[in-house]
C-alpha cells in the first residue's frame, strides 16, 4: 500500500516524513525564544490555541543558520502526545510513495546524518531522505544539557 508523505527541503537535500504524522503546515512569523534550551530549539509558537516548540531542522542537522525567508515553513508533527513544529526551508509537496521505494539508509549516511535519516527513496529521478522524527524532536540531549548546567 502506498502512503502519503510530506516532502520538504533543507539546504540542498529533500526529505520526507509520513503525512499521517503532520497536523498542519504554517508559514513562519517568528517564535518566542526560550532561555536555557539548546540553540536548535528556535522557540515557541501558537498553533490553534496550543503553544508548541519549534525545532530549527537546519541547526538540528548541524547546518549553518539561515534567516527564515518567505517560503520557510513550520511543519507541525504529532508524535504521541507531543506536538512539535519543524522549521524547514520550504515544504510544498505531498507525495505518494510505495513501500518498495524505501531502502535502508547506508551506514555512512546514517553516521554522517547522526541517525536523523532512516531510509532513502529513489522516486521519479529524485533522491529523498526519510527522516527519523522521533530523533529530531528527541530531548535526551536536552536533558543532558540541563544536567550539565546544574552541576
Amino acid at each position: 500500500m502506498s502512503a502519503l508523505y510530506v516532502a520538504f527541503r533543507v539546504s540542498d537535500a529533500e526529505y520526507v516524513l509520513p503525512a499521517a504524522q503532520v497536523t498542519q503546515m504554517e508559514s513562519f512569523n517568528g517564535a518566542t525564544p526560550v532561555p536555557g534550551v539548546p540553540p536548535w530549539v528556535t522557540g515557541l509558537i501558537h498553533v490553534r490555541g496550543q503553544v508548541i516548540p519549534v525545532v530549527d531542522v537546519r541547526l538540528r542537522f548541524g547546518l549553518p543558520h539561515l534567516t527564515p525567508l518567505l517560503e520557510s515553513r513550520v511543519v507541525v508533527v504529532q508524535h504521541g502526545t507531543r506536538s512539535v513544529g519543524l522549521l524547514v526551508d520550504t515544504a510544498r509537496e505531498v507525495l505518494k510513495l510505495a513501500p518498495d521505494a524505501f531502502v535502508p539508509a547506508p551506514e555512512l549516511v546514517v553516521r554522517t546524518t547522526r541517525g536523523f535519516v532512516k531510509a532513502v527513496i529513489q522516486a521519479q529521478n529524485r533522491l529523498l531522505l526519510l527522516i527519523d522524527v522521533e530523533r529530531i524532536i528527541g530531548w535526551e540531549d536536552v536533558h543532558g544539557n540541563q544536567r550539565q548546567e546544574r552541576v
Binding site: 518566542t32 526560550v34 532561555p35 515557541l44 503553544v51 516548540p53 525545532v55 506536538s83 536533558h143 540541563q146
Partner: protein
C-alpha cells in the same frame, strides 16, 4: 471498527461509575469500622455497601470484566448475609472487605491505563467466601426500638425489624393495619390478594401476618407497612376504619449518629464533568480575554486619533466586567472541596498503620474550603508523602511510646483550612519523636541546625532521601525535596516545619487555591517580553538611586554576577534576569522584581515594567522547553507566546547550581 469504539465508550462510563461506588464503599466500610469500635452496628452503611457492590457487579458483568465480577460477587454475598443479620459486621470482616475494594480499585486502575487485567486473586476470593458464615446475627433479646404487639413481633425476622427501624429513622410512618376477610367481601372481589396489591401501591409491605381474631371467630391479616402515605389512605386500602390502623412508633433513640446523612444531602444536584471539558471552556474563555484586550487597544488607538469613543469605551468596560464574572464562574466549576481531596486519607493512614504495626489515631479537621482541581492534583501527593513519613518514621512503636510516658496510639492530625482568601493551609502534625537534628546533620554532613528554618533547609537537601531509606530508625527526609519543589517551586506556596524533640513535628503547607488565570506583571528583559504572576511578587523596586554593592565572582559556576541590594538594611541578592537567561544585554536595568523564596528575598533586575494584565497560563509541557524558572506561556493579544517566568523556582534552581 464501530463495535469496539462503543465498547470503549461503555468502558469509560463503567470506570467513572465504578470509581464513584468504590469511594462510597470505602467510606461506608470506614464508617462501619468506626461504629464497631464503639460497639455499635451501622446497618445503614452495610445496606449502602451492599447496594454499591451489587451495582459494581452488575456494571462489570455488562462490560464483561470477570475479575471484578468475581470479587464483587463474593463481597456482595458477605454483605447480603450481614444485611440479613441486622447490618452487623465482625471487626475482622472489614479488613477483608477493604482488601476487596482495593483489588477492584486496582483492576479499575489497570483498565484505565490499558494494562492487562489479572484474574481475581484466589486468596482474596477464598477469604471472602468464608465471611458470610461469620456475619454476626443481632441478638434476639436485643433492645427493641419500636412498639408492637409481642405476638406479632415474634413473627418478625431480623431483616423485617431492621426495615421497620430504618423506616422510623428515616422519618416515615410505620402502620399496622388489619384486614378482615369475609364471604361478603370476597363476593365483592375484596380478598387479601387485592388488599396486598392496593397497599403495595402506596406503601412498602414489611410483612403480612395471619392472626386469630379475638372478638369473632375466623382469621384476619395484620399488615405491617412502611410508608409516606397518611392513615386515611392506608385505612381505605385495607377497607378498615382509620381508628383500626395503629401506628408503630419508636421507643428508643436511634442507634448512634448518622454519619452519612449530611454528606448525602450535599451531593444532591451534582454532576461529574471531566476536567478536560472545563479546561476546554477555559481555553475558549482565554481566547475571549485576548480579543477583549485587542478591542481595548483598538479603542485606545481610535481615541488617540481624536475619535469620540465614549460609547465604545463603555461597552468595552462592560464586556470586561462580564468576562471577569464568566471567568470566576468557570474557575468555581473547577474547584473541588478539600474534603473530597482528602477523602482517601483515613484509608491511607489505616493502611500505613497496619504495615508498620503501629497504632495511629487520625484526627482529620477539614474546613469548607475549595481549591482548583489542578492544585489538588499536585498538592495531594505531597500530603501523602508527609503522612507516610509521619507513620513510618516519626511515630514510635507502642512500646517506645509507653516507655516515653505517651499514650500507646500515636496521634496524626491533618487539618486543611483557608488562609486568607486565596490560600489553603494544610497542616500535618504528629506527636511522635520529633526530628533528630544531630542525626540529620551528621547524615547531611552539615552543621547542626538551630532553627526550624535551618532544619527545613537540611531535610530538603535532595541527597538526603537516599541515605534515609537505608536507616529508617529515626528522622525523616524521604521526599522532602520533592514536597518543597511541589509546594514552593511549582505552586508558589510556602512550606515550614516545627519540630520539638520527643513531642512531635508539624509541617505547614500554604498553597494558592487557584492557578489557572492569574494577574501578571508584564516586563521587558534582554529585549524580550515576559510575564510574572503578581501573586509571586513581593515588591517592585526602582533601582535608580538604590544602594547596590557588587563585586566580580570568578568562582561562580552559573556565570551570573550577584550583587547585593540594600533594602532598608536587609541585604537582598540582586541578579540581572537578562544574564540569568543569557539574553543579549539590554538597556541599563531600571527596576528590580523582588520575590520571596522560603522567607528569603531575591531581587531580579529587569529593563522596564510594562503594566499588569490578566493572563491564562498554559503550562510548558513539551520536554524540549520544560525548564526551571519558566512556568508557562501566555498570549497577551499579539498572537505570539509570552513566557511566564517563575522567579521563585528560578531562585531555587540557581541556588542548587551554585551549591
Amino acid at each position: 471498527m464501530p463495535a469496539s469504539f462503543d465498547a470503549r465508550e461503555f468502558l469509560a462510563g463503567f470506570l467513572v461509575e465504578a470509581a464513584e461506588h468504590l469511594v462510597s464503599a470505602n467510606q461506608n466500610l470506614l464508617a462501619v469500622e468506626a461504629m464497631l469500635q464503639k460497639g455499635q452496628p451501622h446497618p445503614r452503611a452495610v445496606r449502602d455497601l451492599y447496594r454499591s457492590l451489587h451495582t459494581i457487579k452488575g456494571l462489570a458483568s455488562m462490560v464483561g470484566i470477570e475479575p471484578i465480577v468475581d470479587i464483587s460477587h463474593a463481597m456482595e454475598a458477605v454483605l447480603r448475609a450481614a444485611d440479613r443479620g441486622g447490618g452487623r459486621l465482625a471487626p475482622g470482616m472489614v479488613d477483608v472487605l477493604l482488601k476487596g475494594t482495593r483489588a477492584i480499585e486496582e483492576a479499575v486502575g489497570a483498565l484505565e491505563h490499558g494494562r492487562p487485567l489479572a484474574p481475581a486473586p484466589a486468596t482474596l476470593l477464598d477469604a471472602l467466601a468464608l465471611l458470610p458464615a461469620q456475619a454476626p446475627q443481632a441478638a434476639p433479646s436485643s433492645e427493641e426500638t419500636f412498639t408492637l404487639d409481642p405476638a406479632l413481633r415474634s413473627k418478625l425476622g431480623l431483616a423485617d425489624k431492621e426495615q421497620i427501624t430504618q423506616g422510623l429513622l428515616a422519618g416515615r410512618h410505620v402502620w399496622r393495619a388489619d384486614f378482615v376477610p369475609s364471604p361478603q367481601r370476597a363476593a365483592e372481589g375484596i380478598t387479601i390478594t387485592t388488599v396486598r396489591e392496593a397497599v403495595g401501591r402506596i406503601a412498602e409491605i414489611v410483612k403480612v401476618i395471619p392472626i386469630q381474631r379475638q372478638s369473632a371467630p375466623g382469621i384476619a391479616f395484620a399488615l405491617l407497612v412502611v410508608t409516606d402515605a397518611d392513615v386515611m389512605a392506608i385505612a381505605q386500602a385495607v377497607h378498615a376504619d382509620a381508628e383500626q390502623v395503629v401506628p408503630v412508633v419508636q421507643t428508643a433513640p436511634p442507634p448512634g449518629p448518622e454519619p452519612l446523612g449530611a454528606a448525602e444531602v450535599e451531593r444532591v444536584g451534582t454532576i461529574r464533568v471531566e476536567v478536560t471539558r472545563l479546561d476546554d471552556a477555559l481555553d475558549k474563555l482565554s481566547a475571549l480575554v485576548v480579543t477583549r484586550y485587542r478591542l481595548e487597544r483598538a479603542t485606545a488607538d481610535l481615541a488617540a486619533r481624536g475619535a469620540d469613543v465614549r460609547a465604545l469605551a463603555f461597552v468595552v468596560q462592560e464586556n470586561g466586567r462580564q468576562l471577569r464574572h464568566l471567568r470566576a464562574a468557570i474557575t468555581r466549576a473547577r474547584m473541588i472541596s478539600v474534603a473530597d481531596m482528602l477523602q482517601r486519607v483515613p484509608l491511607l493512614v489505616r493502611g500505613l498503620a497496619q504495615q508498620t504495626h503501629k497504632q495511629v489515631t487520625l484526627d482529620l479537621q477539614v474546613g469548607r474550603a475549595e481549591l482548583d482541581k489542578g492544585v489538588a492534583d499536585r498538592i495531594f501527593p505531597a500530603v501523602v508523602h508527609l503522612l507516610r513519613n509521619a507513620v513510618d518514621h516519626a511515630l514510635e512503636s507502642a512500646a517506645e511510646r509507653t516507655a516515653a510516658g505517651k499514650p500507646e496510639a500515636g496521634v496524626l492530625r491533618v487539618s486543611a483550612h483557608e488562609h486568607g482568601t486565596s490560600q489553603l493551609e494544610l497542616r500535618v502534625t504528629d506527636d511522635g519523636r520529633g526530628i533528630d537534628r544531630d542525626k540529620v546533620a551528621t547524615r547531611a554532613g552539615r552543621p547542626v541546625p538551630h532553627s526550624d528554618e535551618a532544619l527545613l533547609e537540611l531535610i530538603c537537601l535532595p541527597g538526603l532521601s537516599t541515605m534515609d531509606t537505608t536507616t529508617t530508625t529515626s528522622g525523616r527526609g524521604m521526599g522532602m525535596d520533592i514536597i518543597r519543589r511541589i509546594t514552593v517551586d511549582q505552586l508558589g506556596g510556602e512550606l515550614s516545619v516545627k519540630s520539638v524533640a520527643g513531642a512531635g513535628t508539624t509541617f505547614t503547607l500554604r498553597v494558592p487555591l487557584t492557578v489557572t488565570i492569574i494577574d501578571a506583571f508584564l516586563f521587558m528583559s534582554g529585549n524580550q517580553r515576559f510575564a510574572v504572576p503578581v501573586a509571586s511578587v513581593e515588591e517592585i523596586v526602582d533601582l535608580e538611586g538604590a544602594r547596590i554593592a557588587s563585586w566580580p565572582r570568578p568562582g561562580s559556576s552559573t556565570g551570573v554576577q550577584t550583587r547585593i541590594l540594600d533594602r532598608g538594611g536587609t541585604a537582598v541578592p540582586l541578579l540581572a534576569l537578562q544574564s540569568v537567561f543569557r539574553l543579549p544585554p539590554d538597556g541599563a536595568g531600571r527596576r528590580a522584581i523582588l520575590v520571596r523564596r522560603n522567607g528569603e528575598l531575591i531581587a531580579y533586575e529587569v529593563d522596564r515594567m510594562l503594566g499588569q494584565q490578566e493572563v491564562v497560563v498554559r503550562p510548558l509541557e513539551d520536554p524540549l522547553v520544560r525548564r526551571a524558572g519558566l512556568s508557562g506561556a501566555t498570549d497577551i493579544g499579539d498572537g505570539k507566546p509570552t513566557l511566564v517566568v517563575d522567579l521563585i523556582g528560578l531562585g531555587g534552581s540557581l541556588l542548587e547550581a551554585e551549591a
